[in-house]
Point group: C2
Amino acid sequence: MLRGTFEKTLEQYKGILENIGKYVTLTNEETEKLIAIIRTTKIKKRQFIDQPNYVCQYRNYVVKGAFRSYFIDNEGKEHTVQIALEDWFVSDFYSYITQTPATLFVEALEDSTILQMTYDDIEGLCKEIHALSEYFRISTERAFAFSRKRALSNLSLTAEERYLELLNRYPNMIKRVPQKVIASYLGFTPEFLSKIRRDLASKS
Amino acid sequence: MLRGTFEKTLEQYKGILENIGKYVTLTNEETEKLIAIIRTTKIKKRQFIDQPNYVCQYRNYVVKGAFRSYFIDNEGKEHTVQIALEDWFVSDFYSYITQTPATLFVEALEDSTILQMTYDDIEGLCKEIHALSEYFRISTERAFAFSRKRALSNLSLTAEERYLELLNRYPNMIKRVPQKVIASYLGFTPEFLSKIRRDLASKS
């Protein structure tokens, strides 16, 4: 790759390369190999990138925009499993890892841009590049640990405390994501979330 | 290491080496380096290997025995987060990954033997040995994916279906682990689990 082109390309993949750089150092050659397996895709608001019965093909990295993954139970009730903004990965992770049909919907909440890498491409490159294997090992271990912690928070915090925790950690999320999605993510009804917000407003 | 000694050692670590062998191939030299960071520990029934306020020092692999990890909420109610039998890893994973104080209890349900590896030793060896990095990457990705699937099962299956799923997948677990622990793991009261078992017995 020519030097000028390489630098321009680096700018395009700045977010994911900085994220990787938090954990490991890739050589220029390794960075080029990684970029070669990335496909940049624009997704319109309300478009789905995963849906039940289709195998999740890509590990998706959010460059710009917002997504939610959700599940519809037998009573037709929606449960929001994940909300993802910039620099998060989002997919039906079980479907992706096992390469079996998905059970989740993954929907764009805004017009978005994502980076997509297929399962086979990532597996191949992790076998070839030790540092990339380390990146996915460490970042997945952390995501798993934080997901366990979130499950414990749901057991130990009150509804109001859980809302405040989300508000403090991700003030952006509360502003950008519809209230009914936030409510579903926290396991509340939209009415209950409105009540909590009214109560908090009257206290401050 | 002498050949005879090495073969004897391999026998001692058969379970974990077979588990690793499902995903990657270690050279003899890499296997020796891994074995060098493993400490074998015997744990008495009812003994704790992790508890709140202490940093989880080890990734623990169960060679023989059974463990449960649980959390006590503000009302004093126990929630069983994980049950682990032979060839499973068990710890307060958030505490281990972040090296911060634990919030879970991890307790032996039987006299047990475990293999223990410290966070620093594993991190060091994963940086050195590409295949070991791959093993922990792939096994953690699978554990995370299955944990997500379990959370969805809790939303989509009836109580009876969840009990039957556990019974079919881990018939051994139901036999060896106290009913109140199984009930707490499934989110039931012990009385409700007894009712399900009576209902199933009367059907068969």
